[in-house]
């Protein structure tokens, strides 16, 4: 089978503002090149990421994370505490006339994650398979992992995988988190390792997930880390946006 060539940016850890800048950089690149791109990353320091439309003042609702770094995402949804987790971003080209969220992308990627985790003995369910009729959660709770949407993955009643999206003129970015261990900043949100007394690592999940996505979307991943020019561009994005107080305080 002929597979479309895709780019795989290997797992590395950065600060929150750098991670968000690299994701925006990848969206800019895919807008231009139309090459589907998958990236895995971790977080050098525990970081709270606000959803794009959330007010910064809502941090007061979660005192446990008051002392950690904070960045505003470009994607929607609630705030996340990134600490011991695997984060992925997937950027795919989009036709000019496409509109709205790609629900099918949430569904397909999360099915790949269900299959991935199952290979390690972690059996999750999408939230829609556990709720009766209306899955919509209008609670607007501050933390993403305290909310539930249809495709969130649930383990023993706890959400351990959630994703969000950002559209641009020619592509769609979806990034999401797989919670492995609870953070000291949010000890009431357990990860897969806490719930199953396992010791899953980000890299083993990343490798398996990349393979599942490759099969699902007919993609062949070519590993390619960021080059010097791309790092420089991401630093410029950070300066204009994700490291900027104005961006953080915009709401």
């Amino acid at each position: 089978m002929n597979r479309t060539q895709g780019r795989l940016v290997p797992l590395r850890s950065f600060r929150g503002n750098e991670n968000m800048s690299f994701d925006q950089l990848l969206q800019e690149i895919v807008d231009r090149t139309k090459v589907p791109t998958l990236r895995f990353y971790g977080w050098l320091k525990p970081t709270l990421s606000l959803g794009y439309f959330q007010n910064l003042s809502r941090r007061a609702e979660h005192p446990g994370s008051a002392g950690i770094e904070c960045v505003r995402r470009s994607t929607g949804g609630g705030a996340l505490i990134h600490d011991s987790e695997l984060t992925y971003s997937l950027v795919i080209p989009q036709a000019a006339g496409s509109v709205g969220p790609r629900l099918d992308l949430y569904e397909k990627t999360h099915q790949c994650m269900i299959d991935t985790l199952a290979e390690f003995g972690v059996f999750t369910d999408p939230f829609h398979s556990l709720c009766r009729k209306d899955c919509a959660d209008r609670s607007n709770r501050f933390l993403c992992f305290q909310r539930r949407t249809r495709e969130d993955l649930i383990l023993h009643g706890y959400k351990i995988v959630g994703s969000a999206q950002r559209k641009s003129r020619g592509s769609l970015l979806q990034h999401g988190s797989v919670l492995l261990n609870s953070s000291d900043a949010a000890p009431d949100l357990p990860g897969a390792n806490d719930l199953l007394s396992q010791s899953l690592t980000p890299s083993e999940i990343a490798d398996c997930f990349a393979d599942k996505l490759s099969k699902e979307f007919g993609l062949h991943w070519n590993e390619q880390d960021f080059c010097v020019e791309e790092v420089e561009r991401s630093q410029a994005i950070a300066g204009q946006r994700f490291s900027s107080e104005a961006w953080l305080n915009r709401r």
Binding site: G51, Y52, F53, S74, T75, G76, G77, A95, A96, G97, S98, V99, G100, P101, R102, L103, Y106, A136, T149, G162, S163, A164, Q165, R166, K167, S168, R169
Partner: protein, 133 residues
């Protein structure tokens, strides 16, 4: 009062425009099409521009969030934003029911008639939607 969809012009990016002449100036009332609102699926947030902002056709005009996805809205015409429907972000649930009436987003004083020339008629837009569905 709702506008007749058949008389509107549409951008490929799903914004509609109703052009009228007021005191010798062309004013576009702009909103998001019924098709797009349905696809956007349960809007929860909307950002609108400030009055006075000058936009070119295709520039970002605002942003919306639905199902944890942030999507830009684009201006279908070039000109200056002269009025903003500031009640709309707090009443997004009403947008579904009346996209061509209550659902107007901004009014733009046209600076350049040629920006209207690239817009689609309702029939052409419906064809685009049916092909992408």
């Amino acid at each position: 009062m709702s506008l007749d969809e058949a008389g509107l012009l549409f951008a490929q990016t799903h914004e509609w425009a109703h052009i009228e002449e007021v005191d010798g100036q062309k004013i576009a009332t702009v909103g998001v099409s019924a098709f797009a609102i349905e696809q956007l699926n349960d809007l929860v947030y909307m950002d609108l521009p400030e009055v006075g902002r000058v936009v070119a056709s295709g520039d970002e005009l605002g942003e919306v969030e639905s199902v944890k996805a942030v999507s830009p809205l684009y201006s279908p015409v070039s000109g200056e934003v002269i009025e903003v429907h500031s009640d709309l972000p707090d009443q997004l649930e009403d947008l579904n029911a009346d996209p061509y009436g209550f659902g107007w987003i901004v009014k733009i004083r046209l600076s350049d008639d040629s920006s209207v020339e690239g817009l689609l008629t309702c029939d052409a837009y419906q064809k685009q939607c049916s092909e992408s569905a």
